[in-house]
C-alpha cells in the first residue's frame, strides 16, 4: 500500500503492507535508523519523531495514517551541512546522553516541549518528559540540557 509523506523536508514514498507501523516504514523502508524501537507498549519514547511539528510515538501509528504529513526524524534535525540544532548542541554540552539509544526520541520530545512550553520550569520539564525513558543518565543532565536548549532556542528565535 503506497503512502506519500514528507520526511526531513523531502518527499518520500513507501510501499508497505497496510499494517506497517510508521516506525518500521522509517527504519526499514527509508533506512532512517536513528529512530529506535525500545518497547512494544508505546511507553519508552525511543521512537519519537515530529509529525507536523508535534512529537509523536511512531510505534503507535500506522504509516498510512501519516499520509500527507510532514515528518522530522533525528536525521533531519541538524542543518544540511551537519550543524547541530541548538537542542542537540545542548545535549552534548550538558552530557544529556550516555548510550545514545533513547537520545533521538528524547531530543525530539525536548524540541516539541520547548516549542509548546517555552517557559517550562524544571519541574514542568521533568513532568513533560514522562513519555521518554532513559536508563543511563538518571535524567539530571537531560533536564539540564533541555533547560539550556530552551534558552538557546529562545535566543535563536529572537
Amino acid at each position: 500500500m503506497p503512502v506519500q509523506f514528507t520526511v526531513n523536508g523531502r518527499p518520500a514514498s513507501v510501499d508497505a503492507p497496510a499494517n506497517t507501523l510508521l516506525v518500521h516504514a522509517l527504519r526499514e523502508h527509508l533506512h532512517l535508523t536513528g529512530t529506535h524501537v525500545g518497547c512494544d507498549t508505546s511507553q519508552c519514547g525511543a521512537c519519537t519523531v515530529l509529525l507536523d511539528g508535534r512529537a509523536i510515538k511512531s510505534c503507535a501509528m500506522l504509516a498510512v495514517q501519516a499520509e500527507g504529513c510532514e515528518i522530522t526524524t533525528i536525521e533531519g534535525l541538524a542543518t544540511a551541512d551537519g550543524g547541530m540544532h541548538p537542542m542537540q548542541a545542548a545535549f552534548k554540552e550538558c552530557h544529556g546522553l550516555q548510550c545514545g539509544f533513547c537520545t533521538p526520541g528524547m531530543v525530539l520530545s525536548a524540541v516539541d516541549l520547548v516549542k509548546r512550553y517555552p517557559g517550562a520550569s524544571e519541574a514542568e520539564i521533568r513532568a513533560l518528559l514522562d513519555g521518554n525513558m532513559c536508563r543511563c543518565t538518571g535524567y539530571q543532565n537531560i533536564v539540564k540540557a533541555v533547560q539550556q536548549g530552551q534558552q538557546a532556542m529562545a535566543a535563536s528565535a529572537a
Binding site: T33, D40, T41, C44, G100
Partner: protein
C-alpha cells in the same frame, strides 16, 4: 608513569565533551538492529508459555511449510549437531567440598522447559512477519509440572514435584561460606547487644533501553562466522561460544558489538539466541537477524538481585561492632547464567565488612534453582545486595542503641590502611570520615530539624537515611580469582597504534555502551603523549580489530583497561625516546618527554612527537641496527588487587502518611573514586546509578505468580521504570584517595550509585515513619507497601 604524575597531566580532570555524542545526537549511531546485511533473514523464537513442563512432542511440519520459511530448529537438531549447553564462568565449591550443581543449560529445550520464555524452537524466514506467523504454527505438547519461583519457597522445599534438574532434585545449587563461624558464634554468645534483621533484596529486570539483538553471519567461501551482538564483552562471548559450546576455532569467529544501547550487566552473558543464530547461519548459509521485542527482554534477559537474608550484629555497650553473621538464600533462576554463581558469593559476601572494623564476620549462602529467568550480574552484582543488608542493619543497630545513624558509622569506620577484612579482601586506601563529613555538609544535615518541622506542618513525615558503602571493582588478580573458581582471566588488553603523522588509534578490550570510553580513554592517551584529544580515536567492540579483551563489567574499564593502555604507552614512550635520542644525537638516558616534546637534558634541543612518529615509519635516519621501525605497542594488564570505591550517601524523604507516597526531596552522594579523568562523565555515571538504585528502593520490582510462575511484571505497563519526574536534583561530592596499585590511581565509578542508594532511601523512609511505630518493610517502598506498614503499626 605513576598515579601521582599522571593525575597532574593536562586533560586529566577536565570535563572534555564526548567524542561519541555527535553520531548519537544525529541518528548516525549504529546499533545491531540498524545493521542490514545482504539477503538478511529473520529469526523468531518459540518460547515456553509454562514455568515448568515436560515437552512431550514438538511438531514443526506446519511451520516448515509456511510461506517464506527457511528453517525450523528444535532441541533435537541441537543435540544432533553436538552443540553443548551454555557454560557458567565461575565454579563455586560447596562447604562439603562438592562442586556446585551445574545442570545442562541447553540453547533450545531438551525435553523440558524450566521458565516462562525458555527457548523451544527457532524459526527462520525471509521476513520477520513470516517468521512470526510460522512460529505460531509450531505445535508443542507440554505436560505441565509444579513450579517454584520464590527463593524462600525453594529453600523450604515448599512445592512438591518442582525439582528442576535431575542432578539437583531439591533445587539446591550450592552452599558456600566465608569467615570463622566458631569465632563469630563465640563473640555473639557474650555480646552486650545483638541486633537482628530479616530482609529481602527485590528482584529486578535490567531494562537496557536497547533490547538484546544479534545477527549471525557465515561466509562459506572462507568458513568464517561473524556475530553482531548487543554485548558488553565480545571477546568473552567468542571464547565461551567457540571453546565451550560450539567447538569452533576462534580465528574463524569474529564477534562485533557495535553501538550498544546500555547493558548494566545484562549484556555480559552468552545467551542461547547468540549461539542459535551463529550455528544456524552456517546450516542455512544465510545471514540471520534476531531482535528481542521488549516482552522477550522482560522474560529472557538475566535478572538481578533476589536475595532473602537474615543478618545479626553483635555489639558492645557503646555500639562498637564485634561480630556479624549472615545467612542468605539466593535465587539463581532456572539455569546458571555466565557469572550467576560468583554474584551471591565472591561479589557479595566479601563486601560485608563494609567500611567497618568489625573483627569477625561469617556469611553463609545457599543458592537455589527456581522456575524463573536466570539471575546474574546487574549493575553492582552482589555489592548492592551486600550494601543493602549491611547498611540497613547498621541503621537498625543505631536505632536499637539510641545512637544517631552517623554516630554509629563513625564509631566503627576503618581508619588505617591497608586494612585486611575478615572476609578475604584487603582494602588499599580510603578516607571514610572525609566522605561522611563532606556528605553531611552538602546535605545540610544541620538544617534537617527545621525542614522536618516544616514537613510536619504540611502533614508529612520527613526522614533522613544514611548509607556508607564500599564496593570492589576490577575483579582480579587472575591467579587468585582462578583459585576461587573463575574460569576466565580477568586482565585487560590495549594496543596503541601511533600513525606516521602522530595521530593515534587505540584498540581496547574494554567496551563502551554509554560510559564514554571514546572520550575518557582518548584523554588518557592524549595526556600521556601531549597531543590533542581530537588526534586520538578509540576502537572497541570487535574481536577482528582488537587483539583481545575481557570487556566491561564490575566498573573495571578505566582501572584495568585504562591501566593496560598506560602500560602500552610506557612502551611507546620508551621506544620513542630511543628514536628521539638518535635523531638528536644524544644518549637514550638524556631524553625527557613532556608536553608532546622530546628534549635533551641540559640543552635546548627539542623535537615534537610527530617528528619521532614519522621517523618510525620513514626510517631513513633511524637506528635500524638497534630498533625495529614502527610505533605500535600492545600491553596486557592484570591488576594486583581490586579497587575499592567508597562513599557516604544521605537521602531525605517526605512521606504522606495518608497515602503512603514517598517523595525523595534531597539526595547527596559523596564518592571516593580515586583519580577522576573526566568529572562530567563520572557524575553522569553516578546519576544513572542513583536512579537505578532509588528505582529499586521505591518502585522497581519483578514479580512472578507464585503458583503458575507467569511473569506478572512483563511490560512497561507493569514494571515501574523510573522517569524524570520521580527525582530531585542530586548533590554530588568527591573525596580523592588515589588507588595505590594501578598507574592511574582510579577506582571505578559505574556502579556506585546503584550500590549505595537503596539503603539510604529505605533508612530515610524508616526514619520518617519511626514516630508512627513502623520498624521494617521490604523494598520497593511503593505507596501501598508504605501505607500498609503504617496500618500494621497501628494494630
Amino acid at each position: 608513569m605513576g598515579a601521582s604524575d599522571f593525575s597532574k597531566l593536562p586533560h586529566i580532570g577536565e570535563s572534555v565533551r564526548r567524542k561519541e555524542d555527535y553520531r548519537f545526537l544525529t541518528g548516525a549511531g549504529q546499533y545491531t538492529d540498524d545493521i542490514v546485511l545482504a539477503a538478511q533473514s529473520f529469526a523468531v523464537f518459540v518460547r515456553s508459555p509454562h514455568a515448568h513442563a515436560k515437552v512431550v512432542s514438538i511438531n514443526t511440519d506446519a511451520a516448515k511449510a509456511a510461506p517464506g520459511v527457511i528453517g525450523v530448529f528444535t532441541g533435537a537438531d541441537v543435540a544432533a549437531d553436538n552443540i553443548n549447553g551454555l557454560p557458567c564462568g565461575w565454579l563455586i565449591t560447596s562447604t562439603n567440598g562438592e562442586p556446585m550443581k551445574e545442570p545442562p543449560h541447553p540453547i533450545l529445550a531438551q525435553g523440558k522447559v524450566r521458565y516462562v520464555g525458555d527457548g523451544v524452537a527457532m524459526v527462520v524466514a525471509e521476513t520477520l512477519q513470516q517468521a512470526r506467523d510460522a512460529a505460531e504454527r509450531v505445535e508443542v505438547d507440554y505436560d505441565v509440572l509444579p513450579a517454584v519461583v520464590n527463593v524462600q519457597d525453594a529453600a523450604a522445599g515448599a512445592v512438591a514435584g518442582a525439582g528442576l534438574h535431575d542432578i539437583a532434585e531439591d533445587n539446591h545449587c550450592f552452599k558456600w561460606a566465608i569467615g570463622d563461624k566458631g569465632a563469630v558464634d563465640a563473640v555473639f554468645a557474650n555480646a552486650a547487644h545483638v541486633t537482628k534483621l530479616d530482609l529481602v533484596n527485590n528482584r529486578l529486570i535490567p531494562n537496557a533501553m536497547e533490547p538484546r539483538a544479534a545477527i549471525g553471519s557465515y561466509n562459506r567461501g572462507t568458513d568464517e562466522y561473524t556475530l553482531y551482538v548487543s554485548n558488553q564483552n565480545p571477546h568473552v562471548e567468542r571464547l565461551l561460544m567457540t571453546a565451550f559450546v560450539m567447538g569452533l576455532p576462534e580465528h574463524k569467529v569474529r564477534v562485533i558489538a557495535p553501538d550498544v544501547g546500555g547493558g548494566f550487566g545484562s549484556k555480559i552473558f552468552l545467551y542461547a539466541e547468540d549461539v542459535c543464530l551463529t550455528w544456524a547461519s552456517k546450516k542455512l548459509n544465510r545471514n540471520i537477524k534476531w531482535v528481542a521485542d521488549r516482552s522477550e527482554s522482560f522474560l529472557t534477559d538475566a535478572h538481578g538481585r533476589d536475595h532473602a537474608s537474615h543478618a545479626e550484629m553483635a555489639m558492645d555497650a557503646s555500639g562498637k561492632f564485634l561480630a556479624m553473621r549472615v545467612h542468605t538464600d539466593a535465587n539463581v533462576g532456572a539455569y546458571l547464567s555466565t557469572f550467576a554463581s560468583a554474584v551471591p558469593t565472591i561479589l557479595y559476601a566479601t563486601l560485608l565488612a563494609g567500611q567497618y572494623s568489625t573483627p569477625q564476620v561469617y556469611v553463609e549462602v545457599d543458592t537455589w534453582f527456581t522456575n524463573t529467568s536466570p539471575v546474574d550480574a546487574y549493575r553492582g552484582a552482589g555489592r548492592p545486595e551486600a550494601t543493602y543488608l549491611l547498611e540497613r542493619l547498621v541503621s537498625r543497630c543505631a536505632w536499637d542503641m539510641g545512637l544517631s545513624q552517623d554516630d554509629i558509622r563513625k564509631r566503627n569506620f576503618i581508619t588505617s590502611f591497608p586494612y585486611q577484612t575478615p572476609v578475604a579482601l584487603q582494602y588499599d586506601v580510603g578516607d571514610y570520615h572525609a566522605c561522611m563529613t563532606q556528605s553531611q555538609e552538602l546535605a545540610d544535615v544541620a538544617g534537617f530539624a527545621a525542614r522536618r518541622v516544616a514537613s510536619e506542618a504540611k502533614g508529612l513525615k520527613r526522614g533522613m537515611g544514611y548509607s556508607s558503602y564500599i564496593e570492589a571493582c576490577g575483579i582480579a588478580p587472575s591467579n587468585i580469582a582462578g583459585a576461587l573458581g573463575a574460569r576466565a582471566g580477568l586482565f585487560e588488553c590495549g594496543e596503541v597504534r601511533v600513525h606516521p603523522t602522530g595521530s593515534v588509534t587505540v584498540f581496547t578490550g574494554s567496551h563502551s555502551h554509554g560510559q564514554g570510553h571514546e572520550t575518557t580513554f582518548a584523554q588518557v592517551v592524549a595526556a600521556r603523549l601531549g597531543i590533542p584529544v581530537e588526534n586520538v580515536d578509540i576502537v572497541h567492540g570487535d574481536t577482528g580489530r582488537v587483539p583481545f579483551g575481557m570487556g566491561t563489567y564490575g566498573s573495571r574499564s578505566i582501572s584495568v583497561g585504562g591501566a593496560a593502555l598506560m602500560k602500552a604507552l610506557d612502551k611507546i614512550e620508551a621506544k620513542a625516546k630511543k628514536i628521539a635520542a638518535h635523531l638528536m644525537e644524544a644518549s637514550d638516558a638524556d631524553i625527557d618527554f613532556a608536553g608532546g616534546e622530546f628534549t635533551v637534558k641540559g640543552t635546548d634541543k627539542k623535537i615534537p612527537f610527530a617528528q619521532v612518529s614519522l621517523a618510525a615509519y620513514v626510517p631513513h635516519n633511524y637506528p635500524l641496527d638497534k630498533l625495529e621501525p614502527g610505533l605500535n605497542e600492545t600491553a596486557f594488564y592484570d591488576p594486583t588487587n581490586f579497587t575499592f570505591p567508597a562513599g557516604t550517601y544521605i537521602c531525605e524523604v517526605e512521606v504522606d502518611p495518608q497515602t503512603g507516597v514517598v517523595r525523595v526531596d534531597r539526595f547527596t552522594a559523596v564518592d571516593d573514586f580515586g583519580t577522576i579523568i573526566n568529572p562530567m562523565i563520572v557524575e553522569g555515571q553516578v546519576h544513572g546509578g542513583l536512579v537505578q538504585g532509588i528505582g529499586q528502593a521505591l518502585m522497581e520490582n519483578c514479580v512472578y505468580d507464585r503458583e503458575t510462575g507467569q511473569l506478572l511484571t512483563g511490560s512497561y505497563m507493569d514494571y515501574a521504570m523510573p522517569r524524570a519526574d520521580d527525582f530531585p536534583q542530586f548533590k554530588l561530592g568527591h573525596v580523592c584517595t588515589p588507588c595505590t596499585h594501578n598507574p592511574l590511581g582510579t577506582k571505578g565509578c559505574g556502579e556506585a550509585g546503584a550500590i549505595g542508594s537503596p539503603p539510604a532511601v529505605i533508612n530515610a523512609v524508616l526514619d520518617a515513619l519511626a514516630p508512627l511505630g513502623v520498624k521494617d518493610f521490604d523494598m520497593p517502598a511503593t505507596p501501598h507497601r508504605v501505607w500498609q506498614a503504617i496500618q500494621n503499626a497501628k494494630t
